[in-house]
Each structure stands twice: as structure tokens, then as C-alpha cells.
Amino acid sequence: MKRITHMLLIVAILGGLFAVGELNRRLVEDRRQHGITQADPLINAPPLVVFTTVALGGFRGMIADILWMRASRLQHEGKYFELVQLADWITKLEPRFTEVWAYHAWNLTYNISVLFSDPSDRWRWVRHGITLLRDEGLRYNPDEPRLLFELGWFFQHKIGANFDDAHLYYKQAWAREMQPLFPGGRPDFEGWSLDAERMAALRSTYHLNPERIRAIEIRHGPLDWRLPQAHAIYWATRSRDVGGDADVLAADRMIYQSMADAFRRGRLFSGADGHQFIPSPHLELLSYVMAAYDAALADARMEGTVLAAYQFFLRETVLLMYLYQRMPDARRAFARLKEIDPELGAQTDIMDFIFQTYTARGLDMNQDEAFAAVESALYQSLFWRQLGDAERAVGFEQLARLVWNRYMAPRLDRPDFRERTGLPPLETIRDRARQRLLQGE
């Protein structure tokens, strides 16, 4: 009798558990429909995360606080060895709290990386932040636009821009890492489909979807996927696809800014020794960049910010295209500039504009402009030398030297500034120009 009672009780408990499970599913669905749940329950999460989010209940907040305080103290004391682990635990305790993921990834990538003087140490911490967000944060929040945007931002700003002293190291390290997946910087759709290992690396390690890459290539042009700009665009498009209005705006901004960056320095040139990585202008992207800007401009919500950015881009582009002897493209950019910049008189001649722009910005160029100015002058020099016009070739050579010397002069006594914003030696840039010429660009 006793045994039967026990059996009945066990069956009743199991039945109750099943009923509660079913009821919970319906409750979750109702909460989702009425918008009163901040995050859906985690599905297929590892046991550790299920344990921390369910079993610890209200205590997990307290544990997260303690870990957070410990992380702050250790960071202040300069003890960084534990921070990756603490960030991992804190985020696992609050896996659906996107701010927590964003904060810790940002902290590792931005705040801690700059506390090291060695570029390889810095890069390790930048990678920790990217990995935390990409491999863990997006795993639990796959369609969270904020996290997708943050990841894109790391590529656009931390790696792609030149605000960090070690930005060149980051670019080189990322390019080296991407080289096997993107030989020569280009997507290898056929190769990927035949090589399961590379496909697995693409999908599982870097969380890149070949179909999305193909779509980006069609819409935004032939990007060099060894460079961070392409990856910023990738994650921005993902954020755009799942985000609300504000996210779409932010993602669109990231896309056209990254496109413009890719145009300015979106071609990777390996130096003569085979080890150097020097980004230079990717002139074939002009139409795509203009299309991206035009699409953003068409969005009434963005007009104020995008208009100024577009005007600035076109001003740079006219000069750049002229320097690279691409007059049709220079004229096209100039015509569009005149359309969107009422201050530029309709009668202004393109040559007058080029002259004014070049002299006005002569001493105030940024690193990309200076590189382009030197390289284009050397390109012209080589070009005219090939045609037998030595006098003209020497003139452009002198111009290149002049720009290089003037640009580098304030950097010669400041090694850190030179390291961050300086130009490669003139010979290296000449190699690049020669390569361009030989390739018939």
C-alpha cells in the first residue's frame, strides 16, 4: 500500500511539473505578446548560465555587484589578469542585460588596452573585448542591435581609425588573421563551399555569414575584407536589419562612414619585404560610397548630419581623383558637390576648386590625405617618366617630397605622434605607386 502511495505521489509530482512547464510556456508567450517581458527566457544556454540565471534567483544581482566591485578594484590596482574571467562571470549572471555586455567589452577594448605600452599587449585586450561581445554577448542576445552596433564600432573606430597609438598594429594583426579566409582580401565563396574547415572558421569563429557578405558586396562594392571597415559594415548591416528607427539611423551612419573610410584607405598594400601592411585609397568604391551617401541623404531624418559629411567627402574626393588622374570621376564628384553645396557657385570651375582646396589644406592634412597626396604625386612622377617626360616626372617627385617633408616635419621630434599619424618612408610609398602603375590602375 505504502509503495503504491509513493508511486502515485511521484506520478503526481511529475504531472505537476509537466503542467507547470506547459503553463509557463503560455505565460511567457502572453507576456511577450503584451510587451511586459524585457527578455525572453534563454534557450539552449549552457548549464552554468541556466544555473546562474535561475537557481541563484535574486542573489545573482548581489553576486554580480560583488564581482563588479572586485573588477573595479583590481583594475584600479593594475591587476588585469583576472578581469577577463570577472567580465565573463558578470555577463553570465546578467546574460540578457545588454548594457553589461557593452560596458565590459568596451572596458576591455578601450580602457584596459591603452594601459599597455606594447602594441601586442594592447591588441590582446582589444581582442578580448571583441570576443566577449561577438562570441558570448551575441550568443545570448543574437538580435540585439545595440551589441551588433558596438561590435561594428570596435572595428570602425578602435581598429579602423587612428586614435590609438597602436592602430597600425591592430590593422596588421587583423589583416593577418583574415588573410586565410579572404585571400587577397576578397571573399572566396567557391573556396569556402569546398573547404569545410574554412567555412567553419568563417561561421563559428568569426560569426560571418557568406550570404550576408555576398549581399554586402553587391550593395556596397568590392571591399577588402582584411580591413576593419568591411567588418564594421557587416555588423552595421546586421544591426540595421534587427533594429528600430534609432538603430537604423546609427547603423546607416556607420555604413556610410565606413564606406568613406574604405574609399580613403580600403586597399591593402603589402610592402616590398612582404611583411608591411599599408592601406591606401580604394578608388573603385567611389560610386558605391556616393550611393551610400545619397541613400542616407534621402532619409529626411539624417539630412543635417549626413549633408555636411557628404560635402566634406566630395571635397576630398575631387582632389584625390584629380591627383590620381581620374578626371571623369573627379568631375562626377564635383558635379554632385555643386548640387548639394549651395555655397559653391554654379559657375565655379573644377580646376579653380582643386587649386583652392589643395592650397587650403596643404598644411592641415590628415594621415590619409597626406598618404594619398604623396602616393598620387609619385604615381604621376612614375607615369610621366614612363612616357618620357622627365621634366614633368621630376616636378611630381619634388611635389611628393615637399608634401612628405612638410607633413612629417612636426612629427620628427615626437616619436609617439610620428608612430601614430606618420607616413611610411618615401621609398615604400613609391613601391606602392609603382605597383598601382604596373597593375594599370
Partner: protein, 458 residues
């Protein structure tokens, strides 16, 4: 004596039979085997070494502390409640012998468990280093560095208090202090100014520190100069400076130019030779920053010299011994609480006291800071209401009580390769492991003598 041993044996036997102790032991085994496999370092050998060491030993110590408290509580309190204690106390056994027997038994059991934890952690650390050396020979140097204990030495510092007093007397002799400024305030200002001046280096300027004499034995291993500073240019990436390392006779025997990161801990590793034997070490910093930044070295010591002082094994054993002293103390605390209270109350009291002891450093910090209670007080003086004074007094009292038990984190020392000196070992074992335990045994014996142990169940 054999009475104490008999009770000790009984205490061990009872503890082993306890389900909670068994659960804690399972947690202990899980901690020492799983933690090293699951933790994530910062991607460096040194990071992995430090995290495995501090997490494995830290978790083990925490679980053993809980074990010590619980087993100590239960060894007396539950025996009193289930009346088995009557079998002991009706025999010619004094109360202090009961206490001592329980404490000894549980301390021996904890010592054995702690020895296992120490040995397993030590073995795993060496296995990590060995494997890393096999996979990457470049790690050999790093492994060697991790296996060296280093003593932190600070430069000789002037007596700022006396110097400030002298400066104040000079000022007062020349002219009276401005109205509203007390001599105490002015003295504090002068002393702070002097301390800051001693740590500031202006563009093109230099600052010199003198460290104690270097012995011949110390010359074999490399020295490390560790420093942290702030730059007067906010957000500055790297600051260039020149470090001259020498002797009082010749200050520039070594000349190192280095770009350092503001706010971060920067290190320079260098070797010394016979020229430094029995000579004070003189270090000079010359600010060479091209952006014209002034720098302020960290007020907590400015710069420190890490001097090799023996191997990791001896350091590990010393750290292990100090932590064992702590464990013996918590065992004594558990047994004493068990003598004084019923099991639930003893558990709560023990956990509270354990938390207080573990947070001793924090309590001391709070006690030294003026406590301002929320309100609309315009000044600290106004805010010192009666309630605030009371809270301050409570914290000061707690800080006084825990002060002998507050110690620097041994795990941080071991993980960071800092020397754990013999004096700290003696202090840890003697004060925590013995003196406090004996004091508690007296208190517990007194309480047990006053307590009626064979009351009928209500």
C-alpha cells in the same frame, strides 16, 4: 594529554560523518580540480598562473573556512543538544580539555585537507609552466620570473612631518598666518605640498630616489622597477622618460629610455653587476616628453623596486602556513561559538564574525574616514550628528577588535610573486593560530563551566 587526543579523534570521526562536512568536501574536490580547467586568464602565461593560483587556493580556503566553522559549531553544540556531550562531561575531563580536543582534532583534519589543496595547486601550477615551456620555449624566461619571489623595496623618504614643522616655524617667525587659517591646517598643507613636490617631475626636470644597499647574493637575478604616474596632459597615450640607474658615485651606469603609459603599472627589468655590490641603488628619472607633460608619480610609494629573494616553493609554503594559521583561528572560533550557543545561533554568530574578520581591512578604512550621514549638513562638523558619532564609534571599536587579525592578502602576494617573509609567518601562526585560539579556549571553558549541559528537553 591522551584525553585530548581521544576527544580529537572523536571530533574527526564525527566531522567525517557529518553530511554538511561531506558536501563541503565534495565542493572542495570540485574546486581544486575544476577551477584550473575552467578559468580564463588574460591570454598570457603569467595571467593564467596568477588566476589558477589565486582562484584555486582562494576557493579552497573559503570552503575549508566554512568547513572549520560548521564542524566546530556542530562538534560541541549538536553534541550538547543530542546529549552525547553528557557522556564526556560526566567523566573526569575538564571543559578546556573538551575544547582543546575538539579544536585539535578539527585543526588536524583541516591541516590535512589544506595540505592536499596546497599540493594539488602547486602541482598544477608547475604542470602549467612545464607544458607552456614545452610548447613555447619563449615562455621559459617568463616561467623563471614567475617562480621567483621578490621583495618590494621603497626608496628612502624624507621625514616630511619634521620638515613641514620646520617650514611652518620659519613662516610663523616671518609673518603671522592669514586670518582663519589654523597652524594645524597650514602644517597639513605644507606637508602635502612637500610630498607632491617630491613626486613631481616637470618637463626637462629630473627626480632621484635612493634605495638600500644591494647585496652580492641579489645580483644573480634581474631586478624590476615598478612605477605608476599621472600625466599633466589628460588622455596622453605615452610619456617618454629616461631612467638612469647607478650608484651614489656614478648615477648613470645604466641608461634606459622608455615610453610609459600614464595610470598603468609600468615595469622595467634590468640586471645589476659587481659595481653595485654593497652600494645603495640610485635611480633617476628625467622627463623627456616631447609634449611637455609634467608627471606625478603615484602617491602610494611613487616607485618601487622588486628585488629577487628566493624561489616560489619556499614562498608558497610560507603563504600556505599563514593561511593555515587563519584556518586554525576559524576552527577555534567555530568550536567556541558551539560552546556558547545552540547550533543555529552558533552558525549565524560564526558566519558574522568570519565576515567581519575577512572584511577587517574595509572596516579599518571606514573607521578612518569621517562618516557623514545623509542630510543637509553644510560642513563635516555639522554632519557629525550624534548618530554619525555613534556609527563612527562602532566602526572604530570593530576596527580595534579586528586589527590583530587584519593581514595583507597572502594570495595576492603569492600570485604577484611578492615575498612572504618569515616574520609574517611567525606572526600569522602565533597570533591567529595560537594566541587567539588559546584566548578563545579560556573563554569557552569558562562559559562551559557556567553552562548546564544536562537539562531535560523542554
Amino acid at each position: 594529554m591522551h584525553v585530548i587526543f581521544a576527544i580529537a579523534l572523536l571530533a574527526i570521526r564525527n566531522a567525517v560523518r557529518s553530511k554538511i562536512v561531506l558536501i563541503l568536501l565534495v565542493a572542495l574536490i570540485a574546486a581544486i580540480t575544476l577551477i584550473p580547467l575552467t578559468v580564463r586568464g588574460d591570454g598570457t602565461l603569467s595571467g593564467l598562473f596568477q588566476i589558477v593560483l589565486s582562484y584555486t587556493l582562494g576557493f579552497s580556503a573559503f570552503i575549508l573556512t566554512l568547513n572549520a566553522l560548521w564542524a566546530g559549531n556542530a562538534s560541541v553544540a549538536s553534541e550538547i543538544s543530542d546529549k552525547t556531550m553528557q557522556l564526556v562531561v560526566t567523566k573526569p575531563v575538564s571543559r578546556w580539555q573538551v575544547w582543546m580536543g575538539k579544536w585539535l582534532g578539527l585543526t588536524v583534519m583541516n591541516a590535512a585537507l589544506w595540505a592536499v589543496c596546497g599540493a594539488v595547486t602547486f602541482g598544477m601550477l608547475h604542470a602549467h609552466l612545464h607544458l607552456s615551456r614545452l610548447t613555447d620555449p619563449a615562455h621559459a624566461q617568463e616561467a623563471q620570473r614567475l617562480l621567483t619571489a621578490r621583495e618590494t623595496r621603497l626608496a628612502a623618504s624624507p621625514d616630511f612631518a619634521t620638515l613641514a614643522q620646520q617650514r611652518l616655524e620659519q613662516e610663523v617667525s616671518r609673518a603671522p598666518l592669514p586670518e582663519g587659517v589654523t597652524p594645524g591646517q597650514r602644517l597639513m598643507e605644507i606637508e602635502q605640498r612637500m610630498r607632491i613636490d617630491a613626486l613631481t617631475v616637470n618637463p626637462g626636470g629630473s627626480r632621484r630616489w635612493e634605495f638600500p644597499k644591494v647585496t652580492a647574493a641579489e645580483l644573480a637575478e634581474p631586478f624590476t622597477l615598478r612605477y605608476r604616474f599621472a600625466s599633466s596632459i589628460l588622455g596622453q597615450g605615452l610619456v617618454r622618460g629616461r631612467w638612469l640607474i647607478g650608484t651614489p658615485g656614478r648615477t648613470d651606469l645604466l641608461d634606459v629610455t622608455r615610453d610609459s603609459v600614464p595610470r598603468a603599472l609600468n615595469e622595467i627589468v634590468f640586471r645589476l653587476d659587481q659595481r653595485w655590490e654593497n652600494q645603495p641603488l640610485v635611480i633617476t628619472y628625467v622627463d623627456m616628453d616631447s609634449e611637455g607633460a609634467s608627471i606625478l608619480f603615484d602617491v602610494d610609494g611613487g616607485i618601487a623596486l622588486l628585488v629577487p629573494r628566493g624561489g616560489f616553493t619556499a614562498n608558497f609554503i610560507r603563504g600556505w602556513l599563514i593561511m593555515f594559521g587563519r584556518l586554525a583561528f576559524f576552527t577555534a572560533l567555530g568550536v567556541t561559538a558551539g560552546c556558547l550557543f545552540s547550533l543555529p545561533v552558533a552558525t549565524v554568530v560564526s558566519l558574522f564574525l568570519m565576515t567581519m574578520v575577512q572584511m577587517g581591512g574595509y572596516i579599518q578604512d571606514v573607521a578612518q574616514t569621517p562618516i557623514l550621514l545623509p542630510g543637509h549638513a553644510a560642513s563635516p562638523e555639522e554632519a557629525m550628528s550624534l548618530a554619525a558619532i555613534l556609527v563612527t564609534l562602532i566602526f572604530k571599536g570593530m576596527a580595534f577588535l579586528v586589527s590583530p587579525l587584519v593581514q595583507e592578502s597572502i594570495l595576492t602576494h603569492l600570485a604577484g610573486g611578492k615575498l612572504v617573509d618569515n616574520l609574517a609567518v611567525v606572526r600569522g601562526l602565533l597570533i591567529q593560530g595560537l594566541i587567539f585560539s588559546l584566548l578563545m579556549s579560556g573563554m569557552a571553558a569558562y562559559a562551559m563551566n557556567r553552562r548546564q549541559l544536562a537539562l531535560p528537553a523542554s
